[in-house]
């Protein structure tokens, strides 16, 4: 019998497996995906949010604990467990040497992400390079990995892990780490969670999934049904507005539409519905998915003119292009009169200011609802471009309640030998909202804790048994 069974194959699972193995436990990892799709959502990640008191390798200036905590408090609106959040924040300052030891390489943040050089450490080559490095290290250390082994249920005895089942296969272990991701690619569950809106639509039917098609939440549902304590709201997720033409799964970073703050966004009725210039795009990035999800047909269009070209990250698909705004409305299939009413009102409301897309400038609208509070320039320079937007779900927040040892709880009682990490418990820290790189901070911190806890539990059992 193996000491520690790790269910999942992404960042948190790998951190758990490596830590358990380093603690002396024998480790078996069960990854649902085939090798070429391994790693869950982790191949799509880019960086890690790190607390630091002074400049450190790739990080500039300082990002102290309190500032990190305040940032988290702000985006979550208080839906966070301060004790666990601070644990994650502190762990983020010391984990990089361990990551380097396992082959992860960092780089200074480069073009298009300069604002994050202070708060985030970037992986050289991105998340897939990180996942590859961890798998190589796991192999070197003797961690066994089985691909294409989706666990569908686990055997529990009085809150203790006994064995995991993947179809006809049964895997016993002394301890277990659950790190099998959220349920964003379980379309039925998303549909059920989001329900039917007042317009009679099922909003989730129009969602695109930015990450792994293997995150079906099978184990999460099974654990909740088996009495594990859950935390979070099933409709809360990292949701961004992405190009409506993005693939159904694994569109990742490149499908984001980065020009929102430089133009206006209209819905199917050609109406604006939110302040596009509220703050820098990365800071408002994770709110637009929900905003679009609340619009009729779960679709919207980002409209810019030629002045914006070259001032935002290049989109992966070309925009719809037209030489006049009425023509653009026709090409986008929007009601021309309503569209022109919206655009004329916006253009007329733009007050002269000094445009600078690199700072919160003084170009704002006056007497317009909703206002555009920065970068409000009239859209008057052809060619005009329109990009259709749909909600893109990155990961879900509903998870299992846990503590500082990463234990799964049943009726408030922590399990002796069942632990949880990554997306399956991120909701403890991240009840809503998002700030770049914090998913990796949680996954790395709790993956490492869960691996250590599981190894300790397995050793204890060996000693007793």
């Amino acid at each position: 019998m193996v000491d520690v069974l790790v269910i999942g194959g992404g960042n948190a699972a790998l951190c758990a497996a490596l830590m358990a193995r380093e603690a002396g436990a024998s480790v078996l990892m069960l990854e649902a995906a085939p090798r070429e799709w391994r790693g869950g959502n982790s191949p799509h990640v880019r960086n890690l949010r790190c607390m630091h008191e002074a400049p450190q390798d790739v990080l500039v200036e300082a990002y102290p604990e309190e500032e990190f905590w305040q940032d988290l408090l702000k985006v979550t609106g208080g839906k966070t467990d301060e004790r666990l959040a601070r644990l994650v924040i502190r762990a983020s300052s010391t984990c990089r040497d361990w990551m380097r030891k396992h082959g992860v390489r960092f780089q200074p943040s480069l073009s298009g992400a300069l604002h994050t050089a202070r708060t985030n450490a970037f992986f050289m080559g991105g998340g897939k390079a990180l996942v590859n490095a961890y798998y190589r290290s796991a192999q070197t250390l003797g961690v066994q990995v089985r691909y294409e082994t989706p666990v569908d249920h686990i055997e529990l005895r009085a809150g203790r892990f006994v064995a995991a089942h993947a179809g006809p296969l049964r895997f016993e272990a002394r301890a277990c780490v659950l790190a099998a991701g959220g349920f964003e690619s379980n379309r039925e569950w998303l549909r059920e969670a989001w329900g039917r809106n007042a317009r009679g639509e099922w909003p989730a039917d129009n969602f695109l999934i930015r990450g792994s098609r293997f995150n079906r939440g099978t184990l999460l549902k099974h654990l909740i049904d088996s009495g594990a304590d859950a935390i979070g709201d099933p409709t809360q997720a990292h949701m961004v507005a992405i190009d409506a033409r993005a693939p159904h799964y694994d569109g990742g970073i490149c499908t984001r539409i980065d020009c929102v703050s430089l133009g206006v966004v209209v819905n199917r009725d050609a109406q604006r519905f939110y302040d596009e210039g509220e703050d820098f795009w990365p800071k408002r990035y994770a709110i637009w998915g929900r905003l679009v999800a609340q619009q009729p047909g779960q679709i919207a269009w980002s409209i810019i003119d030629a002045k914006a070209v070259g001032r935002f990250m290049p989109p992966v698909f070309p925009g719809t292009q037209a030489d006049s705004l009425p023509e653009l409305a026709r090409q986008l299939g929007l009601d021309e009169a309503s569209f022109m009413h919206t655009l004329d009102a916006y253009n007329a409301a733009c007050r002269p200011g000094t445009f600078d897309h690199t700072v919160l400038d003084d170009c704002a609208t006056a007497g317009l609802a909703p206002a555009k509070t920065h970068w409000a320039l009239p859209l008057d320079t052809p060619p005009f471009y329109g990009y259709a937007l749909k909600p893109g779900v990155t990961f879900t927040y509903l998870g299992l309640k846990t503590d500082e040892h990463a234990a799964v709880h049943f009726n408030g009682v922590p399990s002796d030998n069942l632990f949880v990490a990554g997306e399956m418990m991120a909701g403890n820290v991240l009840g809503q909202g998002y700030t770049a790189g914090v998913g990796m901070s949680i996954g790395t911190a709790f993956g490492r804790i869960a691996g250590t806890s599981a190894a300790r539990a397995a050793m204890k059992e060996t000693a007793h048994g």
Binding site: G125, G127, A129, P247, S261, P282, V309, F312, P314, T358
Partner: protein, 376 residues
């Protein structure tokens, strides 16, 4: 805004269209920025016309890191394979910029060209030897090559070929350079390009651990074997140059003693070239199948083989120089050298010239202000 261009819009070939497609995805992702110069150069552009594609394709060192790290690599439906797409375009740029243009087609039939050149080169020397001596196997001539082939004959054969090679490559790189003109080269830019070329900076993976060969693990093997090959070649070339100086400047005739400068340079260079080409050949055979362009393998392997034959036959020649095998060994060596020279402008050797030019373009370009400025 992208700069306005005076370069005419050329319809993209299939290979270039694929690079354009792939780079459009890369430019929206940018996770690979730390690996090499291709990606920072890409971020200075919003579109990828043919000349820019050629430039970026030749800036690519085919290290493979971006393929293994790519979240959009096959089996993803975006099927992004930067090293392969770039390799195909490089093949096209060699052919398209070849001088004289008609000979560009030789790149497509490289294996045949190489073997023909080798056979012709060898046959030429054998025939000359037979004519001169009446026999290929004969009593030792005391290591005196000129007893087999008079010095004047060798110069008469090699000098025109060498001059043609230099001219043809210069014309090719001139044509390539005109595609994207980044501006005048400052001394620091030249210095940086030279350093990057001589150190193979972009085969270090961005983190010093090297690039990818058979899997996602990093290795410095390619960089090291390439260094052995390049510097081995350079030493052998230096040996020839020194010997030429000895001959014409000082009137010192070959053969030279074992501890003479031409001999020392030649021996060290030859051994280094053998080590390098064996290593590169092995890497070529064992590389991950999706890296690079399979259609160019005959060219890669032919060039590696010719370099190896040139070096190995030179070392053999040195070992048998006092035996009756000298004329035969000399024929094989000179035949290999002749075949190598004949194919230099239309074979894999061209990659060094084009890459050097691309590195210089990048060294110039990176010193210019960014024309694309993203907001925060």
């Amino acid at each position: 805004m992208a700069e306005s261009r005076v370069i005419p819009i050329v319809p993209l070939s299939a290979a270039r269209a694929e690079v354009e497609r792939v780079l459009t995805i890369c430019n929206a992702c940018r996770y690979c920025e730390g690996f090499c110069a291709v990606f920072p150069a890409m971020t200075r552009r919003l579109s990828f016309p043919a000349a820019d594609v050629d430039y970026l394709a030749n800036l690519c060192h085919n290290c493979g890191a971006c393929l293994h790290a790519c979240q959009y690599a096959p089996p993803h439906e975006f099927a992004v394979n930067v090293p392969q797409a770039m390799a195909r375009v490089r093949g096209d740029t060699y052919a398209d910029h070849a001088w004289p243009p008609a000979l560009g087609a030789l790149y497509k039939r490289n294996g045949l060209v190489l073997s023909t050149a080798l056979a012709a080169g060898l046959a030429l020397f054998l025939v000359l030897a037979v004519i001169k001596q009446g026999s290929l196997w004969q009593p030792a001539v005391g290591g005196n090559f000129y007893a087999v082939f008079p010095h004047g004959l060798m110069v008469g054969l090699f000098a025109p070929v060498f001059l043609f090679v230099v001219f043809a490559l210069a014309m090719a790189v001139r044509s390539f350079w005109r595609g994207v003109s980044p501006g005048a080269a400052s001394a620091p830019a030249v210095e940086e390009a030279a350093r990057d070329a001589l150190r193979l900076s972009y085969l270090d993976g961005g983190h010093g651990e090297g690039c990818n060969e058979r899997d996602d693990g990093y290795t410095l093997a390619r960089r090291r074997f390439h260094h052995f090959t390049f510097y081995g070649f350079a030493l052998c070339f230096a040996a020839t140059c020194v010997a030429t100086l000895y001959h014409y400047l000082f009137g010192w005739q070959a053969p030279y003693g074992l501890t003479s400068l031409p001999k020392l340079l030649g021996i060290v260079g030859g051994v280094s070239l053998v080590v390098g080409t064996v290593g590169l050949g092995w890497l070529n055979l064992t590389r991950h199948p999706s890296q690079g362009d399979a259609a160019q393998r005959p060219m890669d392997r032919g060039f590696i083989l010719l370099l190896f034959l040139t070096a190995a036959s030179g070392l053999v020649l040195m070992l048998v120089r006092t035996t009756p095998a000298l004329p035969l060994a000399l024929c094989v060596h000179l035949g290999s050298v002749m075949a190598l020279f004949l194919t230099l402008p239309y074979g894999k050797f061209a990659h060094g010239v084009f890459r050097g030019a691309a590195l210089l373009k990048w060294a110039i370009e990176k010193r210019r202000p960014h024309s694309v400025v993203m907001g925060e």
